[in-house]
Amino acid sequence: MTDSSVLPEGWGMVIGLEVHCELATATKLFCRCANNFGDLPNANTCPTCLGLPGSLPVLNETAVELAMRLGRALNSEINRSVFSRKNYFYPDQPKDYQVTQYDLPTNLGGHLDLPSGLRIGITRAHIEEDTGKLNHVGGGGRIHDADHSLVDYNRSGVPLVEIVSEADMRSSEQAKDYASELRAILLATGVSDAKMEEGSMRVDANVSVHKLGEPWGTRCEIKNLNSLRSLGRAIDHEALRQVDLLDNGETVRQETRHWDEASGRTGTLRVKEDADDYRYFPEPDLVPLEPSAEDIARIDAALPKLPAARRGSLADAAGIAATEGGVVMAVERGLDDLALAAIGGGADAARVLTHIEHNLAVEGAESLSAEHFTALVAMETSGELTATQAKTVLAEMVTSGQAPADIAQAHGFEALDTGALEGIVDGVIAAHPDEWEQFRAGDDKARGKLTGFFMGKVMHASKGQADGKAATALLRTKAGIYG
C-alpha cells in the first residue's frame, strides 16, 4: 500500500530523513562563545572555535542535557557515548575535522508517532558541532563560480543534534508530517528553536524509488531543504527524476544532490563514487560521557507532555480520533489546554474544535480566557448567537479580552427569530425567481452551488445575523426537499 501519488502507477518511493537541529544553548558546544544567530561575522569566536593551534574543547553540559532530553522524547535509549573526529578538508571547518559522535552516540533507537498514526523509527540522535558558513562573493554567488569566498565562524562549534530516521516514509506528505512533528517535539522540549528559515533546523532527505514488490532502488541524498514546502517539492521532484531515469533504461547514481528552490529542481552536488573515508577515531581531547541512571531519571521527570500524548488527551476528551484535524491543529497551535478547559467546562466539543481549527489561527489565541471561550460556545449552542456571529465575537475576544456577552451586546447581536428569518428567505426567493427554479428542479450538484448563492443573499439581507443552518433548512423545506 502506498500513497506516493506523484509517481506513476506501480512505483513507490522510500524516504529517510536526517535532521540537524541547533541546540538552544547560550554558548557553543566546546567553548564559551555565544550561540547567537545574526551577529556580525566572526563576532562570536575564540581560539577553540577557530581551531587555533593549541586550543582544546571543553564540553558544554547543557548541550548534552538537551540532547538527552530529545532522546527521551523520541523514546531512544541513552548510552555511554564517545566523541569522534570526522576528518575531511573544507574551508568552513577550522580544524579540518568535525567533532561528532560516531559509533557510540548518546541516543540510540526510538520512534516518533505522526498525527496520522504512522510510527517512524528513529535510528539515532547524536551530538556534533556545526561548521562555519561560507559566503561566496562575485561570479554567480555559488561555490563553483564565485570570485572569492568569505568565512563566518560564528556558527563554528554551535551544538547540533542530528536525528536520523529509519527509511519508513513512503510519500512527501509523510516526510513533511515527520519534520513537522519533530519540530513540535523540539519546541515542546525546549531543545531547539527549530527555525528552518534561519537554519537552526535543516533537513536532508534520502530518496529512492522502486517498482512495488521489488527491492528498493539506489538512494540520493538531497541537501539544502530549508522549509517544509521545499522538502515536499524536492522529494517529489527527485522521485520523479529517478523514475524517469529508470523508465528510460538508465540507472540512478548514488549521489548528494542540491535542491534549488528557484528552479524547483535538484542538481548533482557530488557523486559518491566510493564510500567517503572520514577516518573516524575517538577524539582524544575529550573524555567519554557516562550518563547515570539518576541523570536519565531526572531528565524523564522533567520532560513536558509531548504532542502525541496531548493529542491523545484531547481526542479522549472530545470523543473523537486523535488524527482529526481539529485535534491536530489544537496541539500544533498550543491551544489544546484551552480546548480541554472548554470541553471540561461543558462546551460542545465539536464546536470547540471547529473554532480552533478554523477561527483561531491568529496571534493572541493562546491567551484567550478558557472561561470566555466556554461561555461563547454555550451561547452558540443555545442559539443566542449564530455561527457567523460567534465567529465575529470570538475574533474580538482575542483582540480585546472582553467577555462574549459584552461583545455580542455591543454589536446588537441576537439571533433572528424564526419568523424574521422566514421573511428574509421569502424576500430573497422572490427577488431571484430564475435561480429559485433551478434550485427546485436541479440535481444535488446544482443545488449545492445555488445554496451558496442564496445563503450569501440571506446573510447580506440579515446583515450577517441569520443562522446559516436554519436558513438552509428553510430553503430546502420551501423547495419541497426533505431529508
Binding site: 593551534p53 582544546l56 578538508f89 577550522p94 577516518r279 577515531f281
Partner: protein
C-alpha cells in the same frame, strides 16, 4: 646558580631580576650562534618583565616562587603576540592571540621567559634535526645532537642560557634530550599539566614538563605548572601533592624494579647499561630494595606508538591548510591551495607521519593498525599495573646511547629506536623522568629513567633526588 637560589635572592631583594636576566642574556650572546637553542630570544620582553618583578619586590609584594627566574619555552607553547612556530615553515608569521595555561602560570609565579626554543618540526623527532630552522647542537660536543624533540630547551638549560625550560614529551621528547644534554627532564602523569596552548602532536600522549639542572629545580617548576585546568578536559581534577618538601625523604625501603625488557632492549649500549647497574647499586646502597622485573608488553610499545601518534597527528595537523593563518601558497582552486601550502610548509618527517597516520586510520586498515595499537596500549598498562603492585618505581636507561653525531641517523627507523625506553610511559600515561648519572665511554652524559605509577610523581622525584645525591 639554581632556579631556587635565584628566586630566593630576588624575593629577598638580594638580587635584582634585571641583573639575573642580563646575566643570562649575556650567556645566550656568547654561545647561541654555535648552539642554536632558540628560534627566538625575547630579550626586550624579558627585561621589561624583570623590571616589573623588581618593582613588585620594591613595593613589598611577593612575585611568586619563581621570582625572576629565566625560563626557555619550547616553541610549540602558545605565547600571546610572540611567534610560535613549532619549527615549521607552515606556521610562518603566526602570533597566537593567547597564552598556554603553563605560560600563564609561569608569569603568575614570577618566572621570566627569555625565548622560544628549537625543536623537531611539530615535536616529531629525536635530534632537532627535523627543525625547519636547522638543528640545535649539544653543548658538550657541538658535533653531536642534543636529542629531541625538545632539544632546544635541553640545550638552553645545559648551556646555562636559563636555569629552567619547558618541553613537551609525546614519546620521550623531554627525557631523551635531557639525558643527552646531561640535565634533569620530567614527563608528568598524563593530565597533570594542562595541554591548553600546547600545539598538539599526538593529543593522547603529549605532556608538558620541566627541564632543570637539579631535581629540586625541576620539582619547583613542576609544582608551578601542574594542577587542574578546566580548559583541558583531560586535566586531572585531583589535588596536587607537594613534591619539594618530600625530596629529602630518601629511598629507604622503596622497591625499585629494573625493567628487563628495557635494560636489555636492542641497541642499548654497554656503557649505558653499566650506568644503569651503577644507579641500581646506588639506590640499593641508599636502602632501596632493587630487583629485576619483567614488563613483557613494553617490547611492542614502539610499534604501537608509531601507529597511534601518527594517526592523531594526521588529524591534529590537518588544520594547517592555508585558509586562516600561517603559510599560504595561492592556487586556482582551494584543493590545489591545500596541496601546495602543505607541500611547501611541512618537512619530510612530518609528511611521513601524516601519511603513516592517514593510512593507519583508513577504512579497511583501522582495525589492523590503529585498533590493534590501542589494544597493545591496554596490554602495556596492564603489565605496568602488575609491576607496580610489586614495585614503587621502575628503572631503565633513558636513551639507548649517549648523544650521537649530527646526521648519523638518516634512516627514520634507526631514529625511532631512540625512543624505545621512553615510549611505554607515554602509552601508559605514567610519569617518568630522566636524571643525569655520570658519563659514557665517550665522556658524554648518560641519563637514568625513573618511572612511577600514575599520579605518583612524589616517589619518582624522591628516587631521582637520591640518584642525584649519590653522585654528589
Amino acid at each position: 646558580m639554581t632556579a631556587r637560589a635565584i628566586a630566593a635572592a630576588v624575593r629577598s631583594g638580594e638580587r635584582s631580576a634585571r641583573s639575573v636576566v642580563e646575566e643570562h642574556l649575556a650567556a645566550i650572546d656568547r654561545r647561541e650562534a654555535e648552539l642554536h637553542a632558540f628560534n627566538l630570544v625575547t630579550g626586550d620582553e624579558a627585561l621589561t618583565a624583570a623590571d616589573a618583578i623588581d618593582a613588585q619586590v620594591a613595593a613589598g609584594e611577593d612575585p611568586g616562587p619563581l621570582a625572576g627566574v629565566p625560563i626557555a619555552l619550547k616553541d610549540n607553547l602558545c605565547t600571546t603576540g610572540i611567534p610560535t612556530t613549532c619549527s615549521s615553515k607552515i606556521l610562518e608569521g603566526w602570533r597566537p592571540p593567547y597564552d598556554a595555561t603553563v605560560v600563564e602560570r609561569l608569569s603568575a609565579a614570577g618566572a621570566i621567559s627569555v625565548g622560544k626554543t628549537n625543536l623537531d618540526e611539530f615535536a616529531m623527532g629525536s635530534s632537532t634535526e627535523n627543525s625547519a630552522f636547522g638543528p640545535s647542537k649539544n653543548p658538550h660536543d657541538i658535533t653531536k645532537v642534543p636529542g629531541g624533540s625538545s632539544g632546544g630547551s635541553a640545550v638552553a638549560v645545559a648551556a646555562g642560557f636559563a636555569p629552567l625550560a619547558l618541553g613537551s614529551d609525546t614519546g620521550g621528547s623531554i627525557r631523551q634530550p635531557a639525558a643527552l644534554c646531561g640535565v634533569v627532564g620530567v614527563k608528568p602523569t598524563y593530565g597533570r599539566v594542562s595541554r591548553y596552548g600546547l600545539v598538539a602532536f599526538a593529543s593522547s600522549l603529549d605532556q608538558i614538563g620541566p627541564f632543570a639542572t637539579t631535581v629540586a629545580d625541576a620539582a619547583a617548576l613542576y609544582e608551578v605548572i601542574a594542577g587542574y585546568d578546566e580548559r583541558d578536559s583531560t586535566s586531572i581534577p585531583e589535588a596536587l601533592p607537594t613534591v619539594l618538601d618530600r625530596l629529602d625523604e630518601g629511598v629507604s625501603g622503596l622497591r625499585v624494579g629494573l625493567v628487563t625488557e628495557l635494560c636489555q632492549a636492542e641497541g642499548i649500549a654497554p656503557d649505558v647499561a653499566t650506568r644503569v647497574v651503577a644507579a641500581a647499586e646506588a639506590l640499593s646502597a641508599a636502602g632501596a630494595k632493587v630487583e629485576e622485573v619483567s614488563v613483557p608488553a613494553v617490547i611492542y610499545g614502539l610499534s604501537a606508538y608509531y601507529l597511534i601518534a601518527p594517526a592523531e597527528a594526521s588529524s591534529n595537523l590537518a588544520r594547517y591548510d592555508g585558509v586562516r593563518y600561517g603559510l599560504r601558497v595561492d592556487a586556482p582552486t582551494t584543493g590545489e591551495m591545500y596541496d601546495r601550502t602543505r607541500t611547501a610548509g611541512f618537512g619530510a618527517e612530518v609528511e611521513r607521519r601524516i601519511m603513516l597516520g592517514t593510512y593507519a586510520l583508513s577504512a579497511g586498515y583501522y582495525d589492523a593498525y590503529y585498533g590493534k595499537a590501542q589494544k597493545v596500549r591496554t596490554l602495556i598498562i596492564r603489565d605496568f599495573e602488575a609491576a607496580y603492585e610489586r614495585f614503587d618505581v621502575l628503572l631503565s636507561p633513558t636513551s639507548p646511547t649517549t648523544a650521537f653525531t649530527l646526521g648519523a641517523k638518516a634512516d627514520p627507523l634507526a631514529m625511532y629506536l631512540n625512543d624505545v625506553c621512553t615510549i611505554p610511559s607515554n602509552l601508559a600515561g605514567h610519569p617518568a623522568m630522566s636524571v643525569p648519572f655520570g658519563v659514557g665511554a665517550d665522556g658524554l652524559p648518560v641519563g637514568i629513567q625513573v618511572m612511577a605509577n600514575a599520579l605518583d610523581e612524589v616517589t619518582m622525584f624522591r628516587v631521582a633526588a637520591a640518584l642525584e645525591g649519590a653522585l654528589a
